[in-house]
């Protein structure tokens, strides 16, 4: 089984803005990408929630705590309340539907289906690349492809609907 290095897409919401970040960890180093800039940092949790993050010569000092539905971030004397959002409204439950909104801003690498085609649940519709990672948009249910909103090499923005699928009635 693969157990190499793993990256993570995270959407942070603050004051009605959504910030799309990736983070990869490799032992003591973290690689964070935001707004097309990669930050390589080391970090230390001095005590629970208190982080010192070394970014080159500079030290980011911050305190994070978890509330019921949000995180509180104390940094440079200011407090920010940040929620981690699933842009598509999905919840992390055992059984969940995938959906057709792009979870990241990126480039459409390929489109695997056509308008008018029949498609099965979990079939790949579109591959989006962002920050060196690929993301697959899959069919959330069996259905008919009514519209594909992006073509290869298009820029797709976070939250945008990639395609529309007319759901097949099941009984």
């Amino acid at each position: 089984m693969e157990d190499g290095n793993i990256g993570m897409f995270i959407n942070y919401e603050h004051a009605n803005h959504v910030y799309n970040v990736t983070v990869e960890r490799r032992e003591n180093e973290f690689f964070i990408t935001y707004d097309n800039i990669e930050y390589t940092v080391t970090a230390q949790e001095i005590k629970p929630g208190q982080l010192n993050v070394n970014l080159g010569d500079r030290m980011i000092k911050c305190m994070i705590s978890e509330g019921e539905d949000r995180k509180y971030v104390f940094i440079n004397g200011q407090v920010f309340q940040v929620k981690r959002v699933e842009l598509t409204g999905r919840r992390k439950t055992e059984k969940k539907e995938t959906d057709l909104n792009s979870p990241i801003s990126g480039t459409v690498v390929s489109v695997k289906t056509k308008e008018g085609e029949s498609i099965q649940k979990d079939d790949v519709i579109m591959v989006i690349e962002a920050m060196k990672m690929e993301y697959l948009i899959r069919a959330p249910y069996n259905g008919l492809v009514k519209k594909i909103n992006f073509k290869e090499k298009d820029q797709i923005e976070i939250g945008k609907l990639a395609a529309e699928i007319e759901r097949t009635k099941e009984d």
Binding site: H14, I32, M63, G67, V73, E134, R138
Partner: protein
């Protein structure tokens, strides 16, 4: 000295009083309502008594329950703190009647000073300047107009039973007077069922400056200089300082003497505060006397070296006030900021919730008087003041810089606080110049919505991402990835697989 004192209060002031008691080897008793069962003041006390229902009238305002609590644990004295029962003459009397020492002035002084019109009359007799005005019983319009003209303009018409601006009129010229009086009377009648009004000179560029008083039971009364408390929102002080940036040695001498005269006229004992309004021409007027320890007492302690709470206990125990007026001096400059659980960007709406992190700034001449600790829940039952931050330094500029630094180190997570707001007030050029009046906040911070633009800094995003990556288990990652192709977890192309 007392061997056991009950503190009929909660929050930071209960904590502060208990620590003074501990230093003096006095056992302390906390009282607490149901929501305060795990509050810091309960943790600190040697004993604690439950008051039950958190509704103030059923708990911290309930005279009977508190007297019974003191009797149950055989406390010899009760310290009321501020707020709640601190200025309730019935409580002071109930203590006395039960053979318990009330740590404060006598019930009759509290009652007398609590009646603002009576208090002003007493002050006038003692030659303490009061705001020119008419507080008489004759309420016919022509008398009022006649008295108003004697006072001069601008003046204010206020409802005797008033509050919250109802039944109040600002009158700038002679010819507006009659109409304003009639309007105020109508409004007062419908709001309070009483059309009685009084007239007062309107103060331009008003500053709220108060003098701390200590008096013992042996006839000694001293003042401990001024505190400037003009930074107020809705009559609620949020930043206090001493010395006042407008004070001169001569004015201090005059006001201090007036404060002592006021206290003497009232027959005052224990700690109290004489509040004055000072106008742009250094004219000062008696406003009222607070017959209790003041929230902002620590800035006086920081600059005079006197411990007011210990003196309250000593005086209540009949000890003589050995501090002499002529020996007292002010050292440096002190500031206090009140830390509230409220949202200054949304009309100072109180914020409730559980505190997930609390870290106080620490350093030389930084004092934290706090009634909070991590995991404590802030409920809507009581005043949303969480703590006070007091700093002192060689002069006002250094004091402001130290306060701004200390606020930048102040961590309270779990509720919204006014900490950033306080820092921005301190950073305001007019504040730094000392050009402050009681209108300061409404002038410069009326529609404050957070000041600096509300964008999340990149540093915060980096820290969050690191935190989230640190707190996600590798196994969890792999499992998510395997089970759910749509999970946010992905293999990253750049790195090779394997170890």
């Amino acid at each position: 000295m007392f061997s056991k004192v009950l503190i009929a209060n909660r929050g930071e002031i209960a904590v502060r009083i208990m620590k003074a008691c501990q230093e003096m080897n006095i056992k302390t008793v906390a009282v607490y309502s149901d929501v305060d069962k795990h509050a810091p003041h309960v943790h600190l006390a040697d004993e604690s008594v439950s008051l039950g229902d958190p509704t103030p009238s059923e708990s911290y305002l309930n005279i009977q329950k508190i007297i019974e609590s003191a009797q149950k644990v055989s406390a010899e004295a009760i310290h009321p703190g501020y707020g709640f029962l601190a200025e309730n003459p019935d409580f002071a009397k109930a203590c006395k009647d039960s053979g318990i020492v009330f740590i404060g002035p006598s019930a009759s002084v509290i009652k007398h000073m609590g009646d603002k019109i009576e208090a002003k009359k007493t002050m006038q007799k003692a030659n303490v300047p009061v705001i020119p005005g008419y507080h008489g019983d004759k309420q016919d319009v022509s008398t009022l107009v006649h008295e108003g003209k004697k006072i001069g303009f601008p003046l204010i018409v206020k409802a005797s039973s008033g509050g919250g601006g109802k039944g109040m009129r600002l009158v700038k010229t002679d010819d507006e007077l009659e109409q304003a009086i009639e309007g105020a009377k109508r409004e007062s009648k419908s709001a309070f069922g009483n059309d009685s009004v009084f007239l007062e000179k309107y103060i331009d560029k008003p500053r709220h400056i108060e003098f701390q008083i200590l008096g013992d039971e042996h006839g000694h009364i001293i003042h401990l200089f001024e505190r400037e408390c003009s930074i107020q929102r809705r009559h609620q002080k949020i930043i206090e300082e001493t010395p006042s940036p407008m004070m001169t040695p001569k004015l201090r001498e005059q006001m201090g003497s007036a404060a002592v005269a006021a206290a003497k006229a009232a027959g005052y004992t224990n700690a109290g505060t004489v509040e004055f309004m000072v106008d742009g021409h250094h004219q000062f007027y008696f406003m009222e006397m607070n017959t209790r320890l003041q929230v902002e007492h620590p800035i006086t302690e920081a600059t005079t070296g006197i411990d007011l709470v210990k003196w309250q206990l000593k005086i209540a125990n009949d000890m003589e006030l050995t501090v002499k007026q002529q020996e007292l001096t002010q050292h440096g400059h002190a500031l206090e900021c009140r830390i509230y659980a409220e949202d200054p960007a949304h009309g100072f709406l109180p914020s409730v919730g559980t505190l997930s992190k609390v870290e106080f700034p620490q350093g030389p001449n930084v004092r934290n008087d706090a009634g909070i600790e991590p995991d404590f829940e802030i409920t809507p039952y009581y005043d949303p003041m969480l703590a006070k931050l007091i700093v002192s330094a060689e002069n006002r500029t250094e004091s402001i810089n130290k306060m701004i630094w200390a606020l930048s180190q102040y961590v309270v997570l779990g509720v919204t606080t006014n900490i950033s707001f306080l820092a921005q007030v301190l950073e305001h050029p007019e504040f730094q110049r000392g050009n402050i009046t009681t209108h300061f906040l409404e002038t410069f911070f009326k529609d404050w919505t957070g000041g600096k633009k509300g964008e999340l800094p990149v540093d915060a995003l980096i820290a969050l991402a690191v935190y989230d990556a640190m707190h996600t288990q590798r196994q969890e990652l792999v499992r998510f990835k395997e089970a759910d192709p749509h999970s946010p977890w992905k293999h990253v192309g750049r790195w090779r697989m394997g170890t």
